[in-house]
C-alpha cells in the first residue's frame, strides 16, 4: 500500500517542490502499460516515460528521495500521505513502512490487502475530478501484471491523487478569486460534547 501511494504521487510532488523544474507533474495511466516502463526500486517504483531523459530524471528524483536524509524528504512524505497524518495521531513517515512490514511479518503475505487498493481506486474513478474513468478489477490487474508478487499488492494508485493533482487546475473555475489552501496536516480532536 505504501508503494503505490508514494510512487504515484511522487512525480507530482517532486515537480511541485521544484525538484524537476522542467518536467510537468504527471502520472502513469495504469491501463496503458505498454506506454510506460516502471522500474522497481525495492518496494517502490516510479512511473516514467519511455524517453531516455525522462528515465534519467525520474530515476534521479527517486534516488534523491530514498537515499538522502535531507530535510525536505519528511515534508514531501508528509504531504504525499497527509491523509494518514490526519487519521492516525502520532504518525510519521518512517513509522508507516515499519508498521506495514510488521503487519506482513506477523500475518505473512496477506493477499487480501490488495482489496484496499482496488476498492479505493475504483471509488476515486467515480469522482468527477478524477480523469481516470476506468475502474480497476482484480482480473484486469492480473492480466496486465500489475501486482507485486512479494506482497500480493496490486500496483495501482489507491486513490488516484496524482491524477487529481494534475486535473486540479482544469477543474478550478476561471473566476475563482480565492487562493488555494493546501492542507498539509491536522490535529485529531476528541469530541467532548462541549462547543
Amino acid at each position: 500500500m505504501l508503494s503505490p501511494n508514494l510512487s504515484n504521487q511522487a512525480p507530482s510532488r517532486c515537480a511541485d517542490r521544484g525538484i524537476t523544474r522542467d518536467l510537468p507533474a504527471s502520472n502513469h495511466d495504469p491501463w496503458k502499460p505498454r506506454r510506460i516502463r516502471r522500474p522497481r526500486v525495492g518496494q517502490g517504483y516510479l512511473a516514467i516515460g519511455q524517453a531516455p531523459w525522462w528515465t534519467l530524471r525520474w530515476w534521479s528524483a527517486w534516488k534523491n528521495f530514498t537515499d538522502n536524509d535531507w530535510s525536505d524528504v519528511d515534508a514531501a512524505l508528509a504531504t504525499t500521505s497527509d491523509s494518514d497524518f490526519e487519521a492516525v495521531q502520532g504518525m510519521t513517515p518512517r513509522r508507516k513502512p515499519a508498521h506495514y512490514a510488521a503487519y506482513l511479518h506477523e500475518y505473512q503475505f496477506n493477499r487480501w490487502l490488495a482489496g484496499f487498493a482496488l476498492t479505493a481506486h475504483g471509488k476515486w474513478c467515480e469522482q468527477q475530478i478524477c480523469d481516470c474513468s476506468k475502474k480497476p478489477s482484480s482480473s484486469k490487474c492480473i492480466q496486465n501484471r500489475k501486482w507485486s508478487a512479494s506482497a500480493h499488492l496490486f500496483d495501482i494508485a489507491p486513490n488516484a491523487t496524482a491524477r487529481r493533482a494534475r486535473s486540479h487546475r482544469a477543474t478550478t473555475p476561471l473566476n475563482f478569486a480565492h487562493p488555494l489552501v493546501k492542507i498539509s496536516g491536522s490535529r485529531l480532536h476528541r469530541y467532548t460534547g462541549i462547543a
Binding site: 506495514y100 490488495a114 484496499f116 476498492t119
Partner: protein, 48 residues
C-alpha cells in the same frame, strides 16, 4: 467505543483512510474484522 459508551452494532458509518496499512489496522482494532482479515472486507466489496 468504551469511552463513548457504544458497541460495534451501533456503528452504521465508519470513515477510514484507504491508502495505507492503517486501514487494515483500524478495522481490525475496532473489531470489524479479525486479525489479518481486514483486507478481505475490501476484497469482498464489503467496504464502500
Amino acid at each position: 467505543m468504551k469511552q463513548a459508551g457504544i458497541t460495534l452494532d451501533q456503528i452504521n458509518f465508519l470513515n477510514i483512510t484507504y491508502v495505507s496499512i492503517y486501514a487494515a489496522l483500524q478495522l481490525e482494532a475496532i473489531g470489524f474484522a479479525s486479525k489479518a482479515k481486514a483486507g478481505k472486507l475490501a476484497a469482498d466489496k464489503a467496504l464502500n
